[in-house]
Symmetry: C2
Subunit: 214 residues, 2 copies
């Protein structure tokens, strides 16, 4: 090893911030490396390509979040299947907020990256996540399904993606929404407050009975 030892980290730190606030394709490697104060070519040296840098940025969060989230779900009252949907979703708050300790604003950065990734990379990221973290994901899906046994699996599939959309879109626009809420209603919410607002909404939507329709 040689040189300043943390070039990789400097790149990741600068990249995640820029990716989260302007999206992947709107963020050039030149912008990243200038913010990180490293040479342009070092991205390709350390990560191979921009696409792999994007994956590395996401993996750094997913590697922390996924295992702790799954274990939080598992030890819900030592019996996840008897937990309410609100409890299950709420069990994700702590793992999410702990990302703030990893890095300042880590929680919202992670959720914004997730949203950007799902929308910008047409299915590419979806594949990456399900193949790398499928085990942890199904822990979550099983707990939710057990808690809402009246929802058929196919319907649950859709509703969990509705839920993903809700949280991810909200966080992507969180700053703008917070500004409006502050000027229109005098409200000032941090990331945790927004998460606590959205959980009852999602839990109610996931559990609402399926009607056969007229």
């Amino acid at each position: 090893m040689a040189g300043r030892t943390d070039t990789k980290t400097r790149i990741l730190d600068a990249a995640e911030k820029l990716f989260a606030e302007r999206g992947f394709s709107e963020t050039s490697l030149r912008l990243i490396t200038s913010k990180a104060e490293v040479n342009l070519a070092s991205v390709n040296y350390h990560f191979g390509s921009k696409k792999e840098l994007i994956r590395a940025v996401l993996a750094r969060y997913l590697d922390v979040f996924m295992p702790t989230a799954a274990s939080e779900i598992k030890r819900l009252h030592l019996a996840p299947e008897h937990a309410s949907l609100n409890e299950i979703f709420s069990a994700l708050i702590k793992p999410l907020l702990e990302l703030n300790k990893v890095r300042n604003g880590g929680t919202i950065i992670f959720l914004q990256l997730l949203g950007r990734g799902y929308i910008e990379s047409q299915g590419h990221l979806r594949w990456f996540i399900t193949t790398h973290y499928g085990q942890h994901l199904s822990t979550f899906v099983q707990a939710v399904s057990a808690s809402a046994p009246h929802i058929p699996p196919a319907e649950m599939f859709w509703r969990l993606h509705f839920t993903l959309g809700t949280i991810v879109f909200t966080m992507a626009s969180a700053d703008a929404l917070n500004e409006i809420a502050a000027s229109d209603y005098g409200e000032h919410n941090n990331t945790e407050a927004i998460i606590r607002k959205v959980i009852p909404y999602m839990a109610a939507g996931v559990a609402v009975p399926v009607i056969s329709n007229e």
Copy 2:
């Protein structure tokens, strides 16, 4: 007037399709004009810039959707304030599906454009919509508020944006989700079927009682 009369239309038609499926910044003017079989420079001649083209693409849908949606809400049983949330959201189905008559796949194109716009253009589109269609929007917000009077205005503000996120993220990934649903559950949903799935979810979320919390 001179030349082929429908150059503007050819550009708009090609642009909306490409914008919806790959996003604004990922779609070059050269790709648009080659699909539209018009000259590259005609975009700047007719629209001024790419940014104004994006706005024109969106306005063409909003100009149709917003007035009919607002009038559908207004004539809900001749008394919108006594309609259920499900009825109010469902009143948007017809205006949405009529976009399919304007152009093939118009409904999903519109919703995808909306989502792309909200996420890619950091607040820029939000401003455009609220200033140009604010009247129609508040018709909708008032009907929803009257139907869920137990939700304070500030909370309703957040929940309606949760709702926007739900529908818009879902439609942006609709094709991918439909593929998975087809292979995993043998389901085949068209745009209308997905909209009908998402409405109960959103209605339940918007109306769920606010808890003061521990």
